[in-house]
């Protein structure tokens, strides 16, 4: 058996080398207490948080209506004057919808917002009719209260729009 060669001496650390920096233990000391059951405390806190969010739900429909209206307004501005700023504003409206809708109980509208954001983010010149179909679908869903997978028509529409965006993404063209 060949004897193991000793490790070469380590070079002194220089400023350019990565360095592990210990984190001050401030929060642990400040807010972590070692008593009671973590599971019970978490369940209780999460339950209180969910109840607090539930109390806000009276406003969810109005907030979704505002989102759909903002998306429609951004789309109208983009149609009348398509340019980078208008496209960015439309993307932002779609992106906000993607983030907001699921939290407000409208996951189908969130899917369509995500699909539109993908289309706008992927293509410099997205097909105008497909963009419009996304916007119209969101407005219809919010107006008719088509919220989630329990709505077969809304689900089919969301899936169809996602497939259409997939097909566009596969096409060659300017991005």
């Amino acid at each position: 058996m060949t004897p193991r060669r000793p490790d070469p001496p380590k070079a002194p650390r220089t400023e350019a080398e990565p360095e592990i920096v210990p984190v001050p233990d401030t929060l642990r000391r400040k807010a972590l207490v070692l008593r009671g059951s973590l599971e019970d405390a978490m369940a209780e806190a999460v339950g209180r948080a969910e109840s607090a969010v539930e109390r806000l739900s009276v406003d969810f429909e109005r907030w979704m209506g505002e989102s759909a209206a903002r998306l429609a307004a951004a789309h109208a501005a983009y149609r009348s004057s398509p340019g980078p700023d208008a496209r960015a504003a439309l993307f932002k409206a779609a992106h906000d919808l993607r983030g907001r809708a699921g939290m407000l109980g409208y996951p189908l509208a969130g899917r369509i917002g995500a699909s539109l954001a993908r289309l706008l983010g992927d293509r410099s010149e997205p097909p105008a009719d497909l963009v419009a179909q996304h916007v119209d679908a969101v407005r219809a869903m919010v107006r008719q209260g088509a919220k989630d997978a329990s709505d077969p028509v809304g689900s089919a529409l969301a899936a169809e729009l996602e497939r259409a965006v997939d097909a566009v993404a596969r096409r060659p063209g300017p991005r």
């Binding site: 350019a16 080398e17 990565p18 360095e19 592990i20 920096v21 210990p22 984190v23 001050p24 233990d25 401030t26 929060l27 642990r28 400040k30 807010a31 972590l32 207490v33 070692l34 008593r35 009671g36 059951s37 973590l38 405390a41 978490m42 806190a45 999460v46 209180r48 948080a49 969910e50 109840s51 607090a52 969010v53 109390r55 806000l56 406003d59 907030w63 932002k92 992106h95 906000d96 993607r98 983030g99 907001r100 809708a101 699921g102 939290m103 407000l104 996951p107 969130g110 995500a114 954001a117």
Partner: protein, 167 residues
């Protein structure tokens, strides 16, 4: 073991008002009494300096200064009042490249909307109970990308290609 939220100060930086209200409702539901809000990245940095939050919850897409750039400034070891502050990014972006970019800016945790109260609680618990050491390189100052790793990794983008960075 439990987290005493009433001892923690939070800063929520989010331009969407309903989202701010939902995040505030969750944090106050957990027990926090000090939840500060900002509607854009610049106001978020001001509030970060003025209010000394223990934990920052920040969106990616923000007016004036986006969440990634605001995170970089909060992490600046020479200029930030608290470069170690835990930062949770809450965003509609789910793409892996976005997750990695946020990690490379120095966020501790990444949550994709829609988020649940349970997921937010778990991230805060991780931050408080299992704080990760920081890594300092020429181009990065922030949480070590590997949750349990100790050895010093190679220089460069700390999170790129590291499967442990995506939960």
């Amino acid at each position: 073991m439990q987290v005493e939220f009433q001892r923690l100060r939070f800063l929520v930086v989010e331009d969407d008002e309903p989202m701010r209200r939902i995040l505030r409702a969750m944090l106050e539901g957990f027990g926090s009494r000090d939840v500060f809000e900002a509607a854009d990245g610049a106001a978020g940095l001001e509030a970060f300096t003025a209010q000394h939050p223990d934990i920052v919850v920040i969106d990616w897409e923000l007016p004036l200064l986006d969440g990634v750039e605001a995170t970089r400034r909060m992490r600046d070891p020479d200029k930030s009042p608290n470069p170690f502050v835990p930062i949770i990014m809450v965003t509609g972006y789910a793409e892996r490249r976005r997750v990695l970019a946020a990690r490379n800016a120095g966020v501790n945790e990444f949550l994709v909307k829609p988020i649940s109260a349970q997921a937010l609680y778990e991230r805060i618990l991780t931050i408080v109970a299992r704080p990760r050491p920081f890594l300092k390189t020429r181009t990065y100052f922030g949480p070590h990308p590997r949750r349990n790793a100790d050895p010093v990794p190679a220089e460069g983008a700390p999170a790129a290609g590291d499967r442990d960075t995506v939960r």
